[in-house]
Symmetry: D2
Subunit: 389 residues, 4 copies
């Protein structure tokens, strides 16, 4: 941050995630009272005309075509990494070495090795007051944050069961083209790393337990797809030639967690009708809870300690002033949307930087997720045998 | 608009509605491609230090304390009225006379007479290319806009039944103080004008039918309340002295619509557990639909023309690119929130101004709502007798 | 009852209601421990071969063609009236005069006058230990009985709002024929008496308040229909000739209740997609509740007295042993169906007869419902003016 | 069957399952037109006074204390086995050898070996026209039967994903006693065989695919429990001494099915708040469907082939005359309950016997389920390695 109380951001990447982050950076100080004011200083992309257009539309002051330029700039305090996973490691390590705070989209990296080196870089930089964070934004959906509070407060008792799915259906059509998210060299993995990573992080966060071992299978239902004529985020139009899908369409695993819970996990892009179907259920010795991202303003909570005849799942509308993040927004019942999770993420990041604390999830937290994903792939590759994380 | 392609906005009022409008003005050009770019030129409020703070927080370039100054400013193209209803008429008429485009929060005015004079002013200004619009923002929730499309496309057939409630519970506690929304001279009416107005407008909009007559009752359950020590939007803390509640707590009416439908309407601030419970159901000769604001990314649609065994209410997640407004935002299933209805409203307003068209709802549309509210009050005052609008 | 501990039933009518009652009589002693055992002694219908077939199928020992024969039989203790409303009065009064206990399907009668004379007959017979009851079976859905307990126990506080609909769609098709339920001389009224009666009784029962006045409208959307070639309960096939529909298709009214609540009621057979959509919501000063007959094993309860952040509508699965009637059936979560409300009704009737108590709802309770329906018709006929019950 | 057109049933066991079967046998001919009439000839239990009381309450003509007496009786056509799993094999084989038709509760047996010998006995008897069936009653919930029709008709396309849970919570309390269902020698297994068996059968039935391999884990959360002072079905009161729980509390597995689908399965008695939470979701290339036993009159169906903007999960109320089994019951929207699945099962069994066809599920079908359960146990015992069925 400079003396003016600003936190000057340089963002790398401006597609889906870049747009979401931009909306968050633009909004965060308009809604929350914070000690630093975010400034959308520069955005970076490889194509000059495209990145200029993006800067204009999304509200960034200048556009650059080389992320190294951002890392080297004096007027940048934060590097916000919104690129595909294959470039996270190089950018993050360079940025940290340059003394820039880093916020890096999930998954932290495409391989455990990259992730490990990023953790080391973050640890080293931390000594110099440089902050780093991985962008598991769903932690900051108010209902998820509130669920974490309920569990931490003992309201569910000992957690016995975790049941987590993240279901989408955007590639059910065999003619959907081979976009970068279906290529292992760019994306690292398929449904597993893209959306499976979210439910691993989210369940570890809300339970306070780590996945310790898994037994897994992965599947690629459609093995050849048309090459894309042009790719843009999640959608694209296909051409005549085809290529091989090198990532999983779906990943399923059973797991054990460090606190004694057993779990099922499933991530799929072939769940027809499920658009963004992240659903997590916890069953504990005292209570249970269910979160569904398609109804993100709600949390279902079962309190098993009250009078039996009155027990049931309570649909809590997580829009009250005493719910996390909510007081800054609208009156009760006036729901938030997907993008607000990013605004909350930036709120906490800005506050952490300003107050000299380490934001969460740290690179180390994200590395743990990466190790779980790695165990899933190893188990799947070895006939679903039990695999320790 | 000036030659630079900007649409320079002056907003009057900066409380709940002002914050929502600010978020919309800041966001609209970041998400939608529009021929004009909104500029947050000035905000107006009576208390100088408060309005300065609001300008800084909400992102307005300057703060003024007299709305007449905004109306007289050369660098203002649009007056955006976010004050309580008792000042709408005077501000709007002055702004229109000064050639400013006007967007005015609902209800249009506190009385039919005021509303009528505003319509006349809008009609007069229109001849000179000046645009006006009333802020019934819920029309622009994608699910509501889409419902309008379904009805207009004949998918529900002849509408037989309209069933609309808008239920809140923020004054159930008798100790909740006598804020301005509970005072007839400021607010015009209570639940009726504040939230009942929304369901009248919304149902008239989606059905394309006008309410022609009503039979109504209104009720004030708690007739004396503590005077507020300080008031701020929907919440306040009460003091020791009390005053008389001069507005309705709840309004209930049955109605007939111009196309032959019969209807029930209910607006209440005493519906314990309902935070922002706007729910509308339409039953037609071919199909039915249900919208619930607490789940605003969804629309339930019943298609009565398909195979009988497969019929049922379909929960449409209104987050697909071919749903109204949605393509500009996030991928399917990544829901929007309350505030987005305002961004959509500003999108349509900006486009109307830029292309020289009249935005909807017009002041005349809003006047029709006002006349329905007036008929409700007259019916209630005369023992619930049938009252033509 | 005779010395053998049997309660010998003679049932008049064997269509939809007769089948439901038969299932209840057959089952009641198999599930509940009761001091008397119901015996399905005789069933009555006008067509000899049809009534014989019904007796065989439904399990009645003998079939008769004249209800007077049943009333005169020594081996009949109870007359169970399942005919259309136009014959209730004559049969019930004769049966009571003959010292038979009477259970009469709702609505009690087609007119207030008939209902009044039935009440007088019941009062007279009561002196001689003869019991009478009207068949508002939904009171005995466990979730409804439990809701009554919650209200009576003060869990909702003072009831402010009642919101009740009973929506069906079986005559939306204009070609659906003119069955007896669409003829005023047989059915008394249309949606109002058939299903509107249920929500009036149910809401008066659960709130403990009586409807004291209404403002109403009724509508007949389709005024001419094909004459039925043959009629059977709710379904029939139409012929070429047409006749005039003499009952309402829909009835809507607002009301006040004796305890200060205000209410909306709506009954319709034109609510496309709603098959048996009885839905009741109560809002009180301390809590709220919702019951929906299409999900009859559930009750939604909002407890407004707990910690704010945890409040919400709790979906209670009313299948626990400490819920009314449930302990006699299956383990938790193993839901009941529509027919069980009749079994519970017979359980309470048998117990009342055996223990010499008056079962509820009494004819007087049902007469009060009849007076509400009459006020609705009078209000509707007089331009929706307020009409005291 | 004897010449009188009766099918004379002898039932072994009269607890929870016996009560459910009794209700079904009593009701089946009252609702369905069938070529044979079931007669509740005899019930068998070990304790003479208890079985006499049960016969009287449940409506059986005589009570016996040795099942061999039933098997030897000339006036018994069907042996209905409702005992715990450890006695299924012996009774069924003896009954089949005696030429009695057999309906046997699930799971077919406690071990694969027993189940295999039962299949052999059934095959042998079949040559002589003797029928056998296993009681996976949930196949006959109308919504499940209808789901099978949708899948068989190709409405879901190729099934990609199966997601099945059966969740209960009746032993969450560590003080709940060690009833027979928690003892391996009586029950064979815990949640796995009791409720996991249901979801294996149900998903194999509706998909038409067989589970071919699994990777599994099982868990017993509470390893010591009080010995029961007296046991009765699902509930019991505990004493001071304790014993070891020898069955699983929960079983989780991932699986592959013969048609290429991948699946997750979970059965647990520790899912706080879930009373009878059987939930199955199928995702296919053309559509998806969800069934939830706690709302058994509903089926959610997603048709992925229609106009994109109108797609969504349709909540079908499976209460229409053209849904399986429904025409015999009540009008649309008048829902059925848990017990009706047994009545439908008996309907199909009676019809199969009368028409000389083999009812489903056959012992061989149930044996396949048994083999899946066995694979689950073997996988769990061997560190969750992949295990072929």
């Amino acid at each position: 941050m400079d003396a003016s109380g600003e936190l000057r951001v340089g963002m790398v990447g401006y597609a889906f995630m870049g747009a979401a982050h931009s909306q968050a950076w633009r909004t965060v100080n308009r809604v929350f009272d914070l000690p630093l004011r975010a400034r959308l200083t520069a955005v970076c992309g490889r194509d000059e005309s495209n990145v200029r257009a993006a800067a204009s539309r999304l509200g960034w002051e200048r556009a650059v075509t080389d992320w190294r330029e951002l890392v080297a700039s004096d007027d940048i305090d934060v590097i916000d990494i919104c690129t595909p996973g294959d470039s996270h490691c190089e950018i993050a390590i360079a940025a940290l070495a340059a003394g820039k705070h880093v916020i890096c989209e999930k998954p932290l990296a495409n391989t455990v090795e990259e992730a490990r080196s990023m953790v080391a870089a973050a640890e080293a930089a931390r000594a110099g007051g440089v902050r780093s964070m991985c962008g598991y934004n769903y932690r900051r959906v108010p209902a998820v944050s509130y669920l974490r509070q309920l569990v931490a407060g003992g309201r569910l008792g000992t957690i016995r069961h975790v049941r987590a799915v993240y279901l989408q259906d955007w590639i059910v059509d065999p003619e959907f083209p081979l976009v970068w998210r279906l290529q292992k060299d760019k994306a690292g993995s398929g449904a597993l790393g893209d959306i499976g990573a979210h439910i691993v992080d989210l369940t570890q966060y809300v339970t306070g337990q780590a996945v310790t071992g898994v037994s897994a299978l992965t599947e690629t239902f459609i093995k050849e797809r048309p090459l894309p004529s042009a790719s843009s985020g999640l959608s694209a139009s296909g051409g005549a030639e085809t290529g091989t899908v090198t990532v999983d369409d779906a990943a399923l695993f059973i797991a054990r967690l460090s606190g004694g819970a057993v779990a099922t996990y499933e991530a799929s892009r072939f769940a027809t009708g499920r658009k963004n179907g992240l659903r997590v259920e916890l069953n504990g010795s005292k209570g249970s809870a269910v979160f569904d991202l398609e109804r993100l303003n709600e949390l279902e909570f079962y309190d098993g300690t009250g009078p039996g005849a009155e027990q049931g799942f309570t649909r809590i509308l997580v829009t009250e002033p005493d719910h996390p993040y909510v007081a800054a927004w609208w009156p009760p019942g006036h729901g938030l949307g997907y993008e607000h999770s990013f605004t909350h993420q930036m709120r906490d990041f800005v506050e952490a930087v300003a107050t000299g604390k380490d934001p969460e999830p740290s690179f180390a937290d994200a590395f743990q997720v990466q190790r779980v994903l790695d165990a899933v792939e190893r188990s799947s590759a070895s006939g679903s045998g039990w695999t320790d994380v």
